[in-house]
C-alpha cells in the first residue's frame, strides 16, 4: 500500500549542517592538557578490564565449587542465579564507587537523573 514519495522539495537549504559542531565525530578534550584526558580514559578502561577479571574469577570459583571443574565453554555458557547476579552487580557497584568516587567532591555526589525521569514524567 506504499505510495510514491510526494514531498520532493524537502531537503533544500541544508548546506549549513556540515558546519555544525557534532556533524563530524571529532576528538574533543576537556582539560587544558589533553594528556590528562588520555590518562583518565586509560584509568577507566583499566578498571573495566580489571572488573572482567574479577568476574571471571568469581565464576570460575563458583563452577569449581559446584561442578568440580571449569572450562572456557562453561564460563561462556554460565548463567548466574538471581542471587549471584545480584551479588555480582552489588560487588561491581561497590568496586566502581570505591575506586572512582574520589574524582568528585562530596557536593557533586548528588541526585540521579535520567532521560525517562524527565520525558514522560508523572508515571
Amino acid at each position: 500500500m506504499l505510495d510514491e514519495p510526494k514531498n520532493q522539495a524537502a531537503g533544500d537549504n541544508l548546506d549549513y549542517v556540515r558546519d555544525l559542531p557534532g556533524f563530524e565525530r571529532g576528538h574533543p578534550h576537556y582539560f587544558k592538557d589533553p594528556m590528562i584526558d588520555h590518562l583518565l580514559e586509560i584509568v577507566m578502561l583499566l578498571g573495566g578490564e580489571l572488573w572482567t577479571v574479577k568476574d571471571r574469577q568469581a565464576v570460575t570459583e563458583h563452577l569449581l565449587a559446584t561442578e568440580g571443574k571449569v572450562t572456557p565453554e562453561m564460563i561462556e555458557q554460565f548463567r548466574p542465579s538471581a542471587d549471584m547476579k545480584e551479588k555480582l552487580a552489588r560487588d561491581r557497584q561497590t568496586f566502581v564507587k570505591h575506586v572512582y568516587s574520589c574524582l568528585y567532591s562530596d557536593r557533586a555526589k548528588a541526585t540521579k537523573t535520567d532521560y525517562f525521569g524527565i520525558v514522560g514524567k508523572g508515571e
Binding site: M1, A10, L14, Y104, A110, F116, G120
Partner: protein
C-alpha cells in the same frame, strides 16, 4: 550449540542478542555502572557549576563552532566539570567500541540472521540497497560509529548501546511500553492505523502492536540497517509490524491514512528544514481527527538546564546530535499550529507529561 567454530551461543537479554563473550558483557556492565555513578549522580552539580563558569567567562551558548570552542575553554577552568565531560565521552566511546568489536567477531552469522528475517513475516519489510541517504542523516548519532546508515549491523549496535545507556531501566523495552501507553489516541478512540517516524529499531511500534493487536502498525526509518534489525526483532517476537526505509520528510503513504503518527526522539536528530517538512507530512498522512504525538526534549525555555545552556551546546557537539540546539530553541508548538494541527496541551509541564500532541481537524 555453537554459532561458529569459535563462539558459544550466549542467547539474548530480553530482545537483545548477548555479547559474543562473557568478558565483553561484563566490561559493558561495568561501563553502565560507571555511567550511573560518575555521570548521572553528579549531573545537577555539574550543571550548576558549569553554568556559572560559562557565565563568568561570557561564553555564548550557541551552536556555532566558535561558540562551542569558547564554552569548552570556560569549562576547562573547573576540574570536576572537565572530569564529568571526559567520563561521559570516554565511556560512550568505550561501549561503542566494545559492542562493535564483539558483534563483529560473528558478523557473518548476524548478517545471515538479518537476511533470513528479511523474507519472513508476520510483518513486512521494505528497504532499498540503492536508497540515497541525504547528507544530514549521515551523522554518527550518539557518536555511534557509522551512525544509523553506514554499518550493516547498526541496529544490533544501537540495541546493545541503548541497553548500556539506560543502565538497566529499559529491560524488555519496558520504557517503550510506558511511552506506548502514554501516546495520545484520537478523540474518537479509533486506532486502526499507526505510524512511528524515525523508529530506529522499532521498540515503540512493537509495543503499540501489543496494545492495539488489531491495528496496522508501521515504523519507518531512514537507515536500512535499522529497519532490517527492527523487522528481525519483531519477527522474533512474532509481532505483525511493518517496517520500511523511508525519510520522515518524504513519506510514501496516501493522504488521510493514519489514525496516529508518533515520533519518539526523532525531532532533535533532524535539522530545521526537515522538521518543518516532517510536520507537514505527518499532517498529510493523518486522517481528519487523527493525532500527531512528538516525544522529545523540552524547549530551552522550559528552564531545564540539561536541555539548554552549555549542557545542550556540548552534548550537541560531542554526542553526535548537531541539530538538537536548533530543536530546543525552536517553537515546535507554533510550527505544529502553522501546519494545521490543533494543540491539546500548551504548558511545558503538560508537554513533558503527554508529549507535543496535535489533532488534525
Amino acid at each position: 550449540m555453537t554459532l561458529s567454530n569459535q563462539f558459544v551461543d550466549r542467547g539474548k537479554h530480553g530482545n537483545t542478542p548477548a555479547m559474543t563473550t562473557r568478558a565483553d558483557e561484563t566490561f559493558l556492565d561495568f561501563v553502565s555502572d560507571m555511567r550511573n555513578v560518575l555521570m548521572h549522580a553528579p549531573n545537577d552539580y555539574v550543571e550548576e557549576v558549569g553554568t556559572k563558569a560559562v557565565e563568568t567567562a561570557g561564553a555564548r551558548n550557541e551552536q556555532w563552532p566558535e561558540c562551542v570552542a569558547s564554552v569548552r575553554e570556560a569549562l576547562m577552568e573547573d576540574g570536576e566539570v572537565s572530569t564529568w565531560l571526559r567520563v561521559k565521552r570516554s565511556l560512550q566511546e568505550a561501549y561503542w567500541d566494545r559492542i562493535i568489536t564483539s558483534y563483529g567477531e560473528r558478523e557473518g552469522e548476524l548478517m545471515q540472521r538479518l537476511e533470513a528475517a528479511d523474507k519472513k513475516g508476520p510483518g513486512t519489510l521494505k528497504w532499498d540497497p540503492n536508497f540515497k541517504v541525504p547528507e544530514y542523516a549521515t551523522v554518527d548519532i550518539h557518536i555511534q560509529p557509522g551512525g544509523f546508515v553506514h554499518h550493516p549491523l547498526a541496529g544490533f549496535h544501537y540495541d546493545y548501546g541503548t541497553r548500556v545507556f539506560f543502565g538497566g531501566i529499559n529491560a524488555g523495552d519496558a520504557q517503550h511500553m510506558k511511552m506506548a501507553r502514554k501516546t495520545a489516541t484520537p478523540k474518537d478512540g479509533k486506532v486502526k492505523r499507526f505510524l512511528d517516524l524515525g523508529t530506529s529499531i522499532g521498540q515503540l511500534p512493537c509495543q503499540v502492536k501489543r496494545l492495539y493487536p488489531d491495528a496496522e502498525v508501521w515504523g519507518i526509518d531512514i537507515g536500512a540497517p535499522m529497519v532490517r534489525y527492527a523487522h528481525l526483532r519483531a519477527v522474533e517476537q512474532d509481532l505483525d509490524v511493518n517496517f520500511a526505509q523511508m525519510a520522515s520528510e518524504n513519506l510514501e503513504f496516501p493522504d488521510n491514512h493514519f489514525d496516529v503518527v508518533s515520533a519518539h526522539l526523532l525531532f532533535h536528530e533532524i535539522p530545521m528544514p526537515i522538521i518543518k517538512a516532517t510536520i507537514a507530512e505527518a499532517f498529510r498522512v493523518l486522517r481528519p481527527g487523527g493525532v500527531f504525538v512528538i516525544w522529545d526534549f523540552p524547549s530551552a525555555t522550559s528552564g531545564n538546564r540539561r536541555f539548554s545552556g552549555f549542557m545542550r551546546t556540548l552534548d550537541a557537539a560531542d554526542n553526535g546530535e548537531p541539530y538538537s540546539v536548533e530543536f530546543v530553541n525552536a517553537d515546535v508548538e507554533r510550527l505544529m499550529t502553522e501546519a494545521g494541527f490543533k494543540l491539546r496541551y500548551t504548558s511545558p509541564e503538560d508537554i513533558m507529561r503527554h508529549g507535543r500532541v496535535g489533532d488534525k481537524p
